[in-house]
């Protein structure tokens, strides 16, 4: 079966979630473009959007309409040519509305999984719980035909494990989009041992169709992305525990967050990133990895405590940031959680000045992540920055250099232990999926 044929009938499970809804928007628009080709006029296209949360399914309806409208507004030049034969569609508004109708008409919303029974392709993006995922795949195996392929968005569960426990005979592939999937170009592709060539090919064709950058990862829990991020986060957490003896917990957290953002030139500080992903999600992924890798070090007391206290981070449905390690106003950090007191300490100018003094100055020729993002001479400027950093004798510079070394070691270990096939693949995931300016395996340390 070709990709075009498979795109005639697709199901997304967990469609009302963060990842599922984004995947649904991408697939709906590709389906609609196929549907509009004259040679496909007699075919029926169906996209089944399945989620057990019925209330969220209602929200998904208006979300899909708004997103498909945006897609149409951005591709009106193309759409006008697809609709040339429709004499009644003259203005952009009419063409856009027609596309929203046409793509909307392929959508089917359901809380009931059985509608996936004719799907040629199933995207799964339900919560990260291997028992529930296996139960779901067992059910799917029963209702779907033998040719159906399953694309799981799991962040950490080995694909072979799902394959074997659900008895899918290699009909499953790890297709790990990043959040938000419509915007993020990276997809980590994970093939289980038993996977067939047709599915592998389908994966790469689909990536091309969706204009994604595919990076292969081996089937080892956490894969490249979380394999790196979890250990990077654990390192920051261990540094936090060490530094809090001197600077108290609130101060130590500020130090590590600031150093990782401003000295390492990352888009956000490490604790802000953990909040963005969700502290509970961070814990959940650690647990999956700990179990599958048998590595007891993949655990953090601080994380466990935060989850127990119900301070979880993550996002509100409008995309704004919930409080976690940091407190946010309009998604900007304004406070830091004091774990012992169970309350937020508000960052004030005097305190900030004092802490910045303890951290020490940034190297001269101040550069920022944002400033370098579009800079064509970025490689040289990074080199200058890190060379200068190594020459500075300050707390911030020392912490930054150790962090850089640790991050590099984590990357190299991913290659050595066979998670990643090459240093380039590790770097591709961190630069594309996490928007780093440089890969962890670099010449700066």
């Amino acid at each position: 079966m070709t990709l075009d044929e498979r795109l005639e009938n697709v199901a997304v499970i967990g469609a009302a979630g963060k990842m599922g809804s984004g995947i649904a928007v991408m697939i709906a628009q590709e389906m609609a473009k196929l549907k509009l080709q004259p040679e496909n006029s007699d075919k029926i296209y169906r996209l089944y959007l399945i989620d057990i949360n019925e209330k969220a399914l209602d929200g998904l309806r208006s979300y899909m309409k708004a997103q498909l409208t945006k897609v149409a507004e951005k591709s009106t030049v193309l759409l006008r040519s697809l609709y040339t034969a429709r004499e009644d569609l003259v203005e952009n508004r009419q063409v856009i509305d027609a596309f929203v109708d046409d793509s909307g008409s392929v959508l089917n919303f359901s809380p009931d999984m059985s509608v996936a029974r004719n799907a040629h392709m199933v995207f799964e993006a339900i919560l990260e719980d291997e028992k529930i995922k296996i139960k779901l795949y067992k059910k799917l195996k029963k209702i779907c035909p033998d040719h159906t392929y399953f694309l799981t968005n799991t962040s950490s569960i080995p694909i072979s494990f799902l394959d074997e426990h659900a008895g899918l005979d290699g009909r499953i592939i790890g297709y790990h989009f990043y959040n938000p999937p419509v915007v993020q170009r990276l997809v980590e592709v994970i093939s289980p041992k038993a996977m067939n060539d047709e599915l592998k090919q389908l994966g790469s064709q689909l990536g091309e169709r969706l204009r994604k950058k595919l990076v292969p990862s081996n089937d080892i829990s956490g894969f490249i992305g979380n394999g790196h991020f979890m250990r990077d986060g654990l390192y920051a957490l261990s540094e936090l525990e060490r530094l809090q003896r001197t600077y108290r917990q609130v101060g130590a957290l500020y130090v590590m967050n600031t150093v990782s953002q401003n000295f390492l030139l990352r888009p956000m500080g490490i604790f802000q990133l953990i909040d963005y992903v969700g502290i509970d999600i961070f814990q959940c992924i650690l647990k999956v990895m700990r179990t599958h890798l048998g590595d007891a070090r993949l655990r953090s007391k601080t994380i466990d405590r935060m989850v127990k206290l119900g301070v979880l981070g993550g996002q509100y449905s409008d995309g704004s940031q919930k409080n976690g390690f940091l407190q946010y106003e309009k998604s900007r950090p304004v406070g830091i959680f004091n774990i012992r007191k169970k309350e937020y300490f508000t960052i004030n100018d005097r305190w900030k000045k004092k802490m910045d003094g303890i951290i020490g100055p940034l190297p001269d020729g101040l550069v920022s992540w944002k400033g370098l993002l579009m800079d064509p001479g970025r490689k040289d400027r990074l080199h200058t920055h890190f060379t200068a950093l190594k020459a500075i004798d300050s707390l911030g510079a020392q912490l930054a250099v150790s962090f850089l070394q640790k991050t590099k070691a984590i990357g190299e270990e991913l290659v050595k232990s066979g998670v990643a096939r090459s240093a380039d693949d590790v770097n591709a995931v961190l630069t594309n999926g996490f928007y780093w300016l440089y890969g962890p395996i670099n010449e700066y340390v």
Binding site: E73, S75, L79, T84, E87, V90, N92, R93, V95
Partner: protein, 415 residues
């Protein structure tokens, strides 16, 4: 015998900021002033410059398509709202697409020449940020022939029309020379806008304008031969100018030295259902300019300042040629050499033009006239250029549709 049977003057020019992307005040998601605000501010700004507003006899307002952008028609009705002098006086709205403002100028002057009124307040207005550009393109496409052209036209209907003109010019005159003329036009427009606090590009801090002007087009998302920097932006704004006879000036209490004489105009119409005869020329603009010069008894060399309708950089270049300042095919080099810069041989679009100031369509013709009047009466503040005593004239050329509806108007500095 002069074209006008009596003297007509222009004074009390005013315009609002051009609001849209680029202005610091502009936030696409926050509420913005409506069309009534711009009409009121423009009228008030103008009336504040006269002593006896009760002697203004009539109001004319140019507007293209508020009926779609703002769901508002019957714009004459906003004159009495803006100022009580207009209560129960004649007020009307005129329309000629992007030349609606130009037609408002002509309608005002005609009324005075016809001895119907001694003093007319002329306004132009448009508010276009009410919808996304992709839908605004639909509304603006009404400047072309809907039944005959829209269905097969581009998503961005007018940008594509001028993209085709740019393509034809590249082919005829060579890509590099013509493209560099367009990039220079963009550069001049932004540099001039930086001298005009009301311009949409006033806050533009780009240090490599010329390179930006050369950016490659993206035909998949926009047009084949032009990029977004070749286009005037989506703008909200209003402008006003008072026209008066000698007696009218006395009535409202404006000194002749604060006014500028209107010496001629030409309004020329081409058939909206036919294609332009030559994509590398603005034929209708050329006829309008020639007629205006003849009627004023002057030549292009008598101008000290010029304001042309650069809805696109290519339109700006072709308008210079149509105004008779250079021979056919030479305009790109003429502009590249700096002749149209503020210190060049013929300072053009000194307040930024449509690309730099902005293009609130229905206001544009009036805004152009206000700027030329400001230049000739030494009121152009930071963007003032030299007006030579032996060349006391300034001209505007304003265009609606793809070279369909054109007004050229010539002004003379008072002695």
């Amino acid at each position: 015998m002069p074209f006008f049977r009596k003297k007509v003057y222009a004074c009390g020019g005013y315009y609002t900021i051009s609001l849209g992307t680029g202005r610091k005040e502009f936030h696409p998601k926050k509420p913005r002033p409506g069309i009534e605000h711009y009409i009121k501010e423009a009228i008030q700004g103008s009336i504040d410059q006269v002593q006896s507003p009760e002697h203004i006899d009539e109001g004319v307002i140019g507007n293209f398509i508020a009926s779609r952008f703002c769901h508002q028609g019957n714009l004459g009705g906003f004159f009495p709202m803006a100022h009580k002098t207009f209560q129960y006086k004649p007020c009307m709205r005129v329309e000629g697409a992007c030349d609606s403002g130009g037609l408002a100028l002509v309608a005002s002057v005609k009324t005075i020449l016809a001895d119907i009124a001694e003093c007319v307040l002329c306004v132009g207005v448009e508010v276009q940020n009410s919808v996304k550009a992709i839908y605004g393109a639909d509304y603006l496409a009404a400047a072309g022939w809907y039944a005959g052209e829209r269905k097969n036209g581009h998503a961005y209907f007018f940008p594509d029309k001028f993209s085709q003109r740019a393509g034809a010019c590249f082919e005829k005159f060579g890509f590099d020379p013509f493209r560099s003329g367009m990039a220079q036009w963009y550069t001049n427009a932004i540099e001039n806008a930086r001298k005009n606090p009301k311009a949409q590009e006033y806050h533009n801090r780009n240090t490599s304008l010329y390179e930006t002007g050369l950016s490659a087009p993206n035909p998949k998302a926009f047009c084949e031969h032009i990029n977004v920097f070749d286009c005037s932006k989506v703008s909200d704004g209003g402008a006003a100018l008072i026209f008066a006879s000698e007696e009218g000036l006395k009535n409202i209490g404006v000194d002749k030295k604060d006014a500028v004489e209107v010496v001629s105009y030409a309004q020329v119409q081409d058939n909206i259902t036919t294609a332009p005869p030559d994509l590398t020329k603005l034929t209708t603009c050329q006829i309008a300019a020639q007629r205006a010069y003849e009627r004023a008894g002057i030549t292009p060399q008598d101008l000290s300042v010029l304001d042309v309708h650069d809805c696109f950089t290519v339109a700006g270049l072709l308008a210079i040629e149509a105004a008779g300042l250079v021979e056919y095919g030479e305009v790109a080099a003429f502009v590249k050499e700096g002749n149209t810069k503020r210190d060049g041989t013929i300072p053009t679009n000194t307040s930024g033009g449509l690309i730099g100031y902005g293009h609130p369509t229905g206001a544009t013709g009036v805004r152009q006239a206000v700027d030329v009047v400001h230049q000739l009466s030494n009121k152009a503040a930071d963007y003032q250029v030299a007006i030579h005593t032996d060349r006391p004239y300034g001209m505007i050329s304003s265009m609606g549709g793809d070279d369909k509806t054109v007004v050229a108007m010539i002004f003379r500095k008072s002695d």
